[in-house]
């Protein structure tokens, strides 16, 4: 493959992410990884549901009194929006508009970082209330499920940033286009997981 080949919007392939064999492989491989991630998160959700509100006898924290919706609502809106901004980035990627893509990726990263900041704030808040990781089976399951999601967000952010920096000077080619495409897919997947977290953990938690 030739890295120096320069593309213009006219010569840029329709599906740059699968224009090369490597791209095709990465594309399928990554989706398969997402299938495995689906099962991973399912195991975490299942455990959470089984251990919800379970703790030592006389435990004081239950989901219904712990969670506060306004913060979760804000987090949800931010993450959903970041999903849209990454779609914009991909739109410009397909149009071979590198600058616009980088700009939208930047917005996505900022939104993602805000989300992560809020999550850290939330965890910190609970810990200060006395609901620490070792408090009960419920707390362990809660932090592990939501924290694993948070770790995915963090990883996604690092991935975005690494790609943006690495390719800042090079522009788009068929070698890095699949990478941008995959991280966007990953970001959507993180959003999908969050949809279930806010539904199953927070909303269903609040209604008891």
């Amino acid at each position: 493959m030739d890295l120096n080949k320069k593309y213009t919007p006219q010569t840029w392939p329709d599906h740059p992410e699968t224009a090369t064999m490597e791209g095709k492989n990465k594309f399928i491989g990554f989706w398969l990884l997402l299938a495995a991630e689906t099962v991973t998160f399912a195991s975490l959700f299942a455990t959470y549901l089984a251990l919800k509100d379970k703790g030592p006898s006389g435990m004081e924290f239950a989901a219904a009194d712990l969670f506060e919706l306004p913060l979760v609502f804000a987090m949800t809106m931010i993450l959903l929006t970041s999903s849209l901004t990454s779609v914009y980035a991909m739109y410009h990627m397909k149009n071979h508009n590198f600058k616009a893509m980088q700009a939208w990726l930047m917005v996505t990263v900022l939104l993602g970082a805000t989300f992560l900041g809020l999550e850290i704030y939330e965890f910190n808040h609970y810990v200060h209330l006395g609901f620490g990781y070792t408090h009960s089976a419920f707390s362990s399951a809660f932090y592990t499920l939501v924290g694993t999601h948070g770790a995915h967000v963090l990883f996604g952010l690092c991935w975005f940033i690494a790609l943006m920096l690495r390719n800042a000077k090079r522009g788009l080619n068929t070698y890095n286009a699949p990478k941008f495409y995959l991280v966007a897919l990953y970001w959507h997947f993180i959003d999908v997981v969050w949809v279930f977290i806010f539904t199953v953990v927070y909303l269903m938690g609040v209604i008891g």
Binding site: T11, P13, A35, L84, F189, V192, T199, I207
Partner: protein, 110 residues
Amino acid sequence: MAHDTHTHVRSQAEYEYVRRQRAKEMRNQLTSFAMMIFLTLIAFTTVAADFSPYLITPIILLLAAVQVVLQLYHFMHMSNKGHGMVAFFMFSGMFVAFITILALVTIVWW
């Protein structure tokens, strides 16, 4: 391994057509986004409005499912060409996910 992609240079008309298609698609994406926001709002309001849990739970789970479909099919393009195997494995994954959750919510405590 790969033989290099043959570069195809589009004519101006072709090029404009493709761009229009993409812009149209982008407008669709915006619509799905609006729907997602809307569904989320409904979910949060039903809970805030304090209906009976037996009513709310199925509704918000359904809303979540719809959102997932929107993400997968619109944002992640799972219905596009070349996604046959992808869809197969994602559905297999969801199947395993489903029975795992079913088992752990039904037969762990009894």
